[in-house]
Symmetry: C2
């Protein structure tokens, strides 16, 4: 019934070490005000008893929990589709290694949950990492006005009240389009992401910039708004080709959409890359499993997690919460779906 083993307390360590609680506490917290010999004695006692501090007792007085919450808007297909989530967690977890800060996971599904989550956060974690691309998420606003340190994954669309870390969506998309242009493509279409998500908006912006840089005109009709899912890729390709049969390249804002695109192209007898070159975004595992291999923009998701923790720990350490941004570089990985078009 009883969950915990009887663990030694500060008191007992003190007794063994022949000193006081206070001193033992100082040793544990690496206070400089302890003489070397005493410290040594205490450390021996600690080792001997296998003492570890009771977190609850400590939290009670310090008013800190030594844990950070990773809050994920459960609705996020983008987050849960593909290795994104696993990579993020891995990055965060890696960065937390050796800090004795623990990671608490919170998925808030419904909007009803929000107040519960919010309440929980306020009293049970020292900091928050928020993953929510729904640009209007009220939680963002609440965190911004609240007193608890928070860092966002991804640029918030409206508020810039909170520090955030994001990958260079614009740059990645621009690079992808530039690459297609260099290949000699002149009718470059795009299946873009939802325009109420920043990643969708930014990748579209990058697409425009890429066209501009290549001296190609922007054409509304060459844009299809998908939802990052595979089906919307198929629909997108279908619609784009119906509208403009001369499309010779498609930039899809996600790998899943890119794959959908390639499937539709195949269905229509268009060869990839010979007739239509395709580039995706994410560089997920599946990009390597397609036939032909999918060129894609790589984003360092693990690094994203690592950087978020770094920022957060800074804030928790007392840095003034200047809303600042960290943008991680993205780069294009070229595979067969966009290779040898010009050459071939």
């Amino acid at each position: 019934m009883d969950v915990q083993e009887k663990r030694p307390t500060l008191e007992q360590v003190a007794e063994v070490a022949g000193t006081s609680r206070a001193t033992v506490s100082r040793v544990i917290n690496h206070s400089p005000k302890v003489s070397a010999p005493v410290r040594e004695t205490v450390e021996r006692a600690i080792a001997q008893l296998g003492y570890t501090p009771n977190r609850a007792a400590r939290s009670l007085v310090t008013r800190r929990t030594n844990s950070v919450g990773l809050v994920v808007a459960e609705s996020e297909q983008r987050v849960f589709g593909e290795p994104f989530f696993a990579d993020l967690v891995r990055g965060v977890s890696t960065a937390l290694d050796g800090t004795d800060v623990q990671l608490v996971l919170l998925l808030n599904r419904s909007d009803q949950d929000r107040s519960r989550v919010q309440e929980f956060l306020a009293s049970h974690v020292d900091g928050v990492l928020l993953v929510s691309s729904r640009t209007e998420d009220p939680l963002i606003e609440q965190l911004a006005t609240g007193s608890i340190p928070a860092v966002l994954a991804g640029r918030p669309l409206h508020t810039a009240q909170l520090p955030y870390v994001d990958v260079d969506n614009v740059g990645g998309a621009r690079q992808a389009v530039g690459h297609l242009a260099e290949l000699g493509c002149t009718r470059i279409a795009t299946v873009t992401g939802p325009q109420d998500m920043v990643a969708g908006v930014d990748r579209l912006a990058g697409y425009r910039q890429g066209l501009e840089a290549a001296g190609l005109p922007f054409d509304d009709e060459l844009v299809f708004e998908g939802d990052f899912g595979g089906d919307s890729g198929e629909q997108g390709a279908a619609q784009l080709l119906d509208r403009h049969g001369d499309v010779d390249a498609i930039f899809a804002a996600s790998d899943l959409m890119a794959i959908g695109t390639m499937q539709e192209l195949k269905r229509r007898g268009r060869r990839v890359p010979d007739d239509v070159a395709v580039v995706g975004f994410d560089d997920s595992v599946i990009a390597t499993t397609t036939q032909p291999g999918l060129s894609s923009v790589h984003q360092a998701v693990g690094e994203l997690g690592r950087q978020m923790i770094e920022r957060l720990l800074e804030l928790m350490g007392g840095s003034t919460p200047v809303p600042n941004a960290t943008i991680l570089p993205t780069h294009l990985v070229v595979r067969e779906s966009s290779r040898g078009v010009a050459e071939g």
Copy 2:
């Protein structure tokens, strides 16, 4: 600098309600020994002040943390590859909804970490979910002898000391092979998983059972041991075909290996499914993105997580830890990679 807002305490609630701490505590903990009118007054006061109990203080006296740890052996390609991890977390998280038990994530990478992790678990969580297919993981042994409730994801190979939840790997594999046999295939090879992981062992066992049920002979030479990764699928297919050119079906113990297999087949000019039918295991997203679509054994990973939490909460509630097993059904999802072989 200060992380916490000034939150109301029991004391304050008591004052507002015109009663004592003790009574308020009873109300909060749903003790029956409180008169209706008093209870009502107290509840009003709680609502008015927006009171929520301080977890640390509570833990300190109850010696329970109200949190469970999800421990994942970081090395697990199988766990982090593909949606497995995300699905599992989602399932666990769903099951925890409304329990006020929080989920703490622990990835232990190196073996050195293990003692740290072990120590942490002992003092900071009320229960443990362990995901580790390394059959000899010492953590299993330690948890089995320890006093903290634990549930395993997947059948442990040697010890049956702990309750576990697993998917029906054997049945799924058997079904896959049976399906291939029904299609008329008679030389059914397999690219199996590592034989030091239970999932690998069980899926191979299922393969054998499937052959037997179909009246087909088992042949060592038709078995290649992969590592669940895509590359090993390619190697496997290559080696199997080199050994036996007449292979007319391949059952791969993971989707990634199945895809590798299909790539190698294509490279050799073997058509799927016409020349060689292929079935994978996992039924992950990528199974739907291949050309042709990959038939695969579906496993309910989310349900796995849900069931694990259910077991764990039972144990934490005081059930005697009878090492028992829960096996979740798997089922085959047929797609093009194994369709119309007999018919066509």
